[in-house]
Symmetry: none
Subunit: 242 residues, 2 copies
DNA sequence: GACAAGGGGACGTCTAGATGAGCTTGTATG
DNA sequence: CATACAAGCTCATCTAGACGTCCCCTTGTC
């Protein structure tokens, strides 16, 4: 393979040259879940001290490419999930299509009066009753997104008492006979608020992607669901096709 | 003040005890912009090696509490709360508008060999010459995006010597007679890397939106430009209409 | 067959010392 | 007075060595 020509005289720190070399190698030849060579071996290979090599790997850990497991080794993480935004995209579908196991857990299921933002987006009067469902989704056993769904209570009625996870849009289609269609999405980024960092198992300084979207009845065009999703920024990438 | 009772036997790593002690002290007694004691002094005070102390400060840097300035010292950053509230900066820009709204400054204009990612997206061989133009865009005198544009050097030729800002797509249309068409965009979020935090005038712990997009000749469908934009997360919100 | 002990591999933490590089400041010099 | 340079402070990087802790798997015993 290469000569691992890391060179101090170039002005670029060794650990950075090494982290870039490893990153490239990983992206080219490693699959998610694969294990890197042990630190002492890599240190030997690049002819640097183990501390320097650890510094290099620290960078990769920090950028979300690999993960350390004490006592076991360093492992390649899944790349960011490419979640396309289209008229009919569904979370679960696009993930499963990508060959990932999915799981969704209902964290909250409550009826509350609609606040200003929710009411406006659902075209309801302020204070109208809405069902608030908060779900945590995982892919390959790892938390991935937290989504707050708001739906007019009168529309979804009592049916949602039975919702326990899985594709929400499928549930709506099955039980209510309503096909949903995405109208628009707003994408922004923030540091995690509230419990989101804990739920998503990320440090508080790692940014999340926020997606606000409104889904409407594809026939009547009336809004049915307003969703505010918070996605792990290190594992999600949004694709917008035009 | 305290006795700095860091203790190895407690099972908690020294560097973590120290970072927590410093964090508490900073939050209580330091204002944004204040400077921490030099590393050797702190190391002495906690009776640890300077490496261990640096590890502790690394944690604080990583969490966005403080910032290192080489040759100067370690300084306390503003808390993130100071950045959240904006009254009329509520500009919801579409991707297109964000790309074209300008008062733009050219930061760099170089011909470089294409790296792997750039080469792949422009459908060139690795190492082929590409023109790298980096622009900083402002709105209301405030910076809001940094964009790296990559274009095949043979295509854009010498023409770009005259490019000094303004709409890049207009420039390409005028000078080269090429109409561009966006193929797709990938949206992700990161903390700012390199000089981006400085250029955008944000603290290093404030997330940015990254947009990778490829623009192609609308006739031949050959890729002409690969753009990697970094937008201030507190000023920009992307709207995706469908 | 079940369980416990032990070995070895891998990451985690800490110490010690040396050198490099960026920034500011003060002083010497033209 | 202004410029140039040197000193000194600060963080940045690298090396070397030593243990500690966690985890898995094998081995041995009951």
């Amino acid at each position: 393979m290469s000569l691992y020509a890391v060179d101090l005289s170039s002005g670029i720190p060794l650990y950075r040259q090494i982290s870039q070399a490893i990153e490239e190698e990983v992206r080219k030849h490693y699959k998610p879940g694969a294990q890197l060579s042990p630190e002492p071996v890599l240190a030997e290979r690049f002819s640097v001290n183990r501390h320097t090599l650890r510094h290099a790997i620290d960078e990769l850990v920090n950028s979300g490419l690999v993960e350390r497991r004490r006592g076991l080794g360093v492992f390649v993480l899944d790349g960011p999930h490419n979640y396309g935004i289209h008229k009919h995209t569904r979370f679960t579908k696009s993930l499963e299509a990508a060959g990932n196991t999915t799981e969704s857990v209902v964290l909250r299921k409550l009826i509350i009066p609609a606040g200003g933002g929710v009411a406006r987006r659902l075209e309801l009067g302020e204070g109208a009753e809405v069902l608030w469902v908060e779900t945590l989704r995982k892919a390959n056993e790892r938390p991935f997104s937290v989504v707050s769904h708001f739906m007019p209570a009168e529309l979804v009625g009592q049916v949602f008492a039975e919702y326990e996870g899985g594709s929400l849009h499928d549930f709506i289609a099955d039980r209510l006979g309503i096909e949903l269609e995405r109208q628009y999405s707003l994408i922004s980024t923030r540091l995690p608020q509230g419990d989101d960092a804990t739920l998503l198992a990320i440090p508080r300084h790692q940014p999340i992607l926020r997606i606000k979207s409104v889904n409407a009845n594809s026939v009547t065009r009336r809004p049915v669901e307003y969703a505010l999703g918070r996605l792990r920024g290190d594992r999600v990438e949004l694709e917008v096709k035009l």
